[in-house]
């Protein structure tokens, strides 16, 4: 479904300095598979997702979605792909037009791609669909009439998720979609994603720093460091028998929700004594 081949992305600053954000990454994602990308902050996870969405042009390498090479695809192909691929950005607020009400933000992809959602005639259908989506992510129907700046961080994240799911896409790219959610809402959102995958066969590329979330939803996990995928494998295997040193370091640093097992706390009380 998604084929990334020897992808590289260099950012060149005006001063001449270059950052190699993605360094020779090859990765395939099957239909109905959930691939979770974890790894170092600044290792190229967001850049990789932007390359696969066609929002950035790779320095070299190819991106193929359903066999279509993004670099050489026709306008019609791209239009179809834009409908099929949806995204939840790492910073949801900056991807929302602050002048639009939530109902119009969530309906944006519907209006763009679905004739029956347009204009006056489409209004009832559109609003019903938006209500359904908002309640699926745990927001009250009244939210539809408000503006994005009138919401908490986690509420905005959910608006962004609702928008991404509006069109029943076949691929959804989610960049840290639950980082501002409390654990109950997070569980609700993860259940929703799992249900859609079961019912509609969705494919997810999911970026997160939360390894517990990764282990819960991933079919496969890819670990990134310094622009490269250093390890990839089924979630169970990777978390139980990590091969790469960096994966072990990460697993070792996950904080445990139990103060009696906190290393930092223990070290601090030793010093205090």
């Amino acid at each position: 479904m998604i084929e990334l081949e020897r992808l590289r992305k260099e950012f060149r600053a005006p001063g001449g300095r270059t950052t190699l954000a993605v360094d020779d990454v090859s990765l395939t994602v099957q239909r109905s598979e959930t691939v979770v990308i974890v790894g170092e902050s600044g290792s190229g996870k967001t850049t990789l997702t932007r390359l696969l969405l066609g929002l950035l042009r790779p320095t070299s390498g190819t991106v193929r979605i359903n066999g279509v090479d993004l670099a050489t695809s026709s306008g019609a192909d791209m239009k179809r792909l834009r409908r099929e691929m949806q995204v939840v950005f790492q910073d949801p607020y900056s991807s929302m037009n602050p002048k639009l009400r939530v109902v119009d933000i969530v309906a944006e992809p519907l209006v763009t791609h679905e004739p029956k959602a347009r204009g006056r005639a489409g209004r009832a259908w559109r609003e019903a669909r938006v209500d359904e989506l908002l309640s699926a992510v745990g927001l009250e129907p009244g939210a539809a009439r408000r503006y994005p700046h009138e919401f908490s961080g986690g509420q905005r994240q959910r608006i962004s998720i609702a928008r991404a799911l509006a069109l029943n896409p076949s691929i959804v790219v989610l960049d840290e979609p639950t980082s501002a959610l409390d654990v109950s809402v997070q569980a609700q959102v993860l259940d929703l994603l799992a249900a859609l995958k079961r019912e509609l066969g969705l494919t997810y590329v999911f970026v997160t720093h939360n390894l517990a979330v990764a282990s819960q939803i991933a079919d496969r996990v890819a670990v990134m460091k310094d622009g490269a995928v250093v390890e990839i494998g089924p979630a169970g295997t990777l978390f139980e028998q990590p091969q790469h040193e960096y994966t072990r370091t990460l697993l070792d640093a996950v904080p445990v929700p139990d103060p009696s097992r906190s290393r930092l706390r223990a070290a601090r009380s030793r010093v205090a004594r």
Partner: protein, 269 residues
């Protein structure tokens, strides 16, 4: 221990024409020198609105400070005029915002922004500013800090932006740090490094921290006390160990039960 900050019976509404959101309802909280108070709870429960009230940073309108006082030293922060608050913000009380882009200016290099914060509140030379900025970025776990200082926010990853903001908040060595989800964009190793830095600043300089987070692992690492919020109210407040060992409120119990754990998840799958 001396109390540095004391919120008493704070209520904040957002008036949205057709409806009024009671975002904060009668919240009282005390913060002692060198202490970390964690605020956890439901998304939309008023954690950020409470934190922003401390420096009067909620947007007015639609925000209305209905009632309450926020004592800091001899001042009631809720009654202080804007000019007086400006001298306190980023100086005695610094803030790490939930959304880094609200505090970073997209048009200025991050190093310059951090330097300006320092120069606004401290009498430092240009050369000393430059080295303090690089030092602050390095402490916040930014690799190649001298190069990063020369970049614009959009050239940084989500987690680098968050670390730039942490550096900006800490560069003046504030007495009180209000950190709203400060590590959400960080991998767990960098997160651990930041938590160690915060703890160090507390132990050395007595900095007090209000830490808002959804990550109960982080709470277990650094919190002295925990307040649990739901629908604008504090439903439970306890020191860290007893809260985890014997949560009193039904909602706290459900939060702890719903926390995904690494080992459990892989066993279940």
């Amino acid at each position: 221990m001396t109390t540095v900050l004391s919120i008493e019976k704070l209520s904040v509404d957002f008036e949205l024409g057709t409806e009024t959101v009671h975002a904060v309802r009668d919240v009282s909280l005390d913060l002692a020198e060198g202490e970390t108070l964690a605020i956890v709870g439901e998304s939309g429960s008023g954690k950020t609105a409470t934190a922003l009230s401390i420096l009067q940073l909620n947007p007015v309108p639609p925000a209305v400070y209905r009632s309450g006082t926020i004592r800091f030293g001899a001042h009631d922060l809720l009654a202080l005029p804007e000019a007086r608050l400006r001298a306190i913000r980023g100086n005695d009380i610094a803030m790490i915002f939930q959304d880094p882009m609200t505090s970073l200016n997209p048009l200025k290099k991050v190093g310059r922004q951090i330097g300006e914060t320092l120069q606004l509140h401290r009498d430092v030379s240009r050369r000393d500013t430059r080295s303090a900025v690089v030092e602050a970025l390095a402490q916040a776990g930014v690799p190649r800090p001298d190069e990063r200082a020369e970049q614009y926010p959009h050239e940084l990853s989500g987690g680098l932006r968050q670390r730039a903001m942490i550096a900006m908040a800490l560069v003046t060595r504030p007495k009180v740090l209000i950190a709203d989800e400060p590590t959400t964009a960080l991998d767990v190793t960098v997160q651990a490094q930041i938590l160690e830095l915060l703890v160090q600043l507390q132990d050395r300089h007595g900095m007090a921290i209000v830490l808002i987070t959804h990550d109960l692992g982080v709470v277990a690492d650094v919190a002295d006390r925990i307040a649990v919020m739901r629908s604008g109210e504090i439903v439970e407040e306890q020191p860290c160990e007893p809260l985890f060992a014997a949560p009193q409120h039904e909602y706290t119990r459900s939060l702890l039960a719903a926390t995904p754990r690494l080992a459990g998840a892989s066993e279940g799958a």
